[in-house]
Every structure is written in structure tokens, then in C-alpha cells.
């Protein structure tokens, strides 16, 4: 017999790669992991598993996102003007006084509890006390209207002056 009797053919003693996965990476199959017959189950189970694999092929993975093409030195595009300080309101039907205790719309009871100012009364009194002396003097100006004097009288009662 000519040639090496050991060349070619199935060699059970040689290292085998039976997992269907390339050891060096590579492109692999475009359909993802190949279907494999899994033996050792009950009668008919192998065929059922084979059909299941054929019906639901493994995903090949998401395509990589293309990087945006920006020329060097190009200034960054301005951000969209949505939800900026001076943007138009998203609730055009809502009164601008919604959430405060005067004017149209719901009052402060509509605000979440953590937004309600628990110290409002204290802050108000502090501000009134701060400016009260000058406010009182203005009542002595000629032509000071009664509405202003009533307001100062109200403040006097608030701060106990």
C-alpha cells in the first residue's frame, strides 16, 4: 500500500471541535449558531429540538451604529430650543397663576407636598418687618390713597405693630 495509512479520514484520537464555534473567532455563519442535533433525549425529542432550532434562529447581533460624520473644526450644532427657559409653554391652556394662591387656576393645594412652602408665613412676616418702617412713612405723603393706608393698617395688625 502506498502512502501513509494514517493520512485523511476520521481520527477519534485527534483534537476535535464539536461545538460548532470557531476557536479563532472569524466570521462564522451569517445565520448565527448552526442548528445542532442533540441526542440522548426521549424518542422524538431530538427531532422536536431540531425543528425548534430551525424555527427560531439565533440572532446575528445588532449592527454597529455608524459614527456621525463631522468635519474637523466644525462647531457643534446648537441644542434644540425645546424646554428652555424662554420656550413657549407646553400647557398653553394652563393659567400662569396655577399653583399659587391668587389668580385663575388651582391654588397651592394642587402642588405636591414637598413643593409647598411650609415657612411661607414666617418669611412673609420677616419681609414685612424689614420694610415696615419705610412703608409707614409713605402713608404720610400728600395724596396717599386710602387703599394704601388700609394695606399698612393690615400689615400693622400682622406684625403686631
Amino acid at each position: 500500500m502506498a502512502g501513509n495509512s494514517n493520512s485523511g479520514g476520521y481520527r477519534p484520537s485527534a483534537p476535535q471541535n464539536n461545538t460548532g464555534i470557531s476557536a479563532t473567532g472569524g466570521a462564522g455563519s451569517k445565520n448565527g449558531q448552526p442548528n445542532r442535533y442533540i441526542s440522548g433525549g426521549k424518542y422524538g425529542e431530538g427531532k422536536a429540538l431540531m425543528q425548534q432550532q430551525q424555527g427560531a434562529s439565533m440572532s446575528a447581533g445588532p449592527a454597529p451604529m455608524a459614527a456621525p460624520q463631522v468635519a474637523p473644526g466644525t462647531p457643534a450644532a446648537p441644542l434644540p430650543l425645546e424646554n428652555q427657559l424662554m420656550s413657549p409653554t407646553n400647557n398653553p391652556m394652563e393659567p400662569i397663576t396655577a399653583g399659587v394662591d391668587f389668580g385663575p387656576g388651582p391654588g397651592s393645594e394642587a402642588l405636591p407636598n414637598n413643593i409647598s412652602a411650609e415657612t411661607r408665613g414666617i418669611d412673609n412676616t420677616a419681609i414685612i418687618k424689614k420694610y415696615y418702617p419705610a412703608l409707614v412713612k409713605a402713608t404720610q405723603l400728600p395724596d396717599a390713597p386710602d387703599s394704601y393706608k388700609r394695606f399698612i393698617s393690615y400689615l400693622s395688625g400682622q406684625i403686631g405693630g
Partner: protein, 86 residues
């Protein structure tokens, strides 16, 4: 941004400069805001009155936007002559 802060001393200083009640003055602004927003909102009224309004029309438009009504200050026997009585 320009920060506007008026202290008690500067209010007193303004008071010395003003010899009569004038429409558009700080005191008139306080009267208009307090009467329109309600006395219970006195602190807000005082702070809004300190804004340097371009004119009484601008101020009154702002009050109208807040309250949905025309300003209610400057009422009484001693109203400022020449200013429409509301």
C-alpha cells in the same frame, strides 16, 4: 444679571426724596400689587413692587395677567389726580 436689592435704608432714602404720592412710584406699586393680589400676599406684593417697571401700563398689564382683572389699588378719597380711579 443685575441683582436688585433694596434694603430698609435705601427705602428710607427714597422716602426722603419723594415729597408726594406719584403714580408709578414704589409706594404706588406696593398699593397696586397689594390691593390686586390680596393683603395676605403682602410679601410678594412688596417684592413685585420693587421691580423697575418700564411704565405703569406694563405694571398694570402684568397685574392683569396675574389676576385676570384690572389693578385695584389707588382707591379712596386721596387718589392721585390725573390717574383713572378704579
Amino acid at each position: 444679571m443685575l441683582q436688585i436689592h433694596i434694603s430698609v435704608s435705601s427705602l428710607t432714602f427714597l422716602d426722603k426724596l419723594v415729597d408726594k404720592w406719584r403714580a408709578g412710584s414704589l409706594w404706588d406699586n406696593i398699593d397696586q400689587f397689594a390691593s390686586s393680589l390680596g393683603y395676605e400676599n403682602a410679601a410678594v406684593a412688596i417684592q413685585l413692587a420693587m421691580i423697575p417697571w418700564e411704565s405703569t401700563d406694563d405694571r398694570d398689564k402684568f397685574i392683569g395677567a396675574l389676576t385676570g382683572d384690572s389693578p385695584k389699588g389707588n382707591s379712596g378719597q386721596n387718589y392721585v389726580s390725573g390717574t383713572p380711579r378704579r
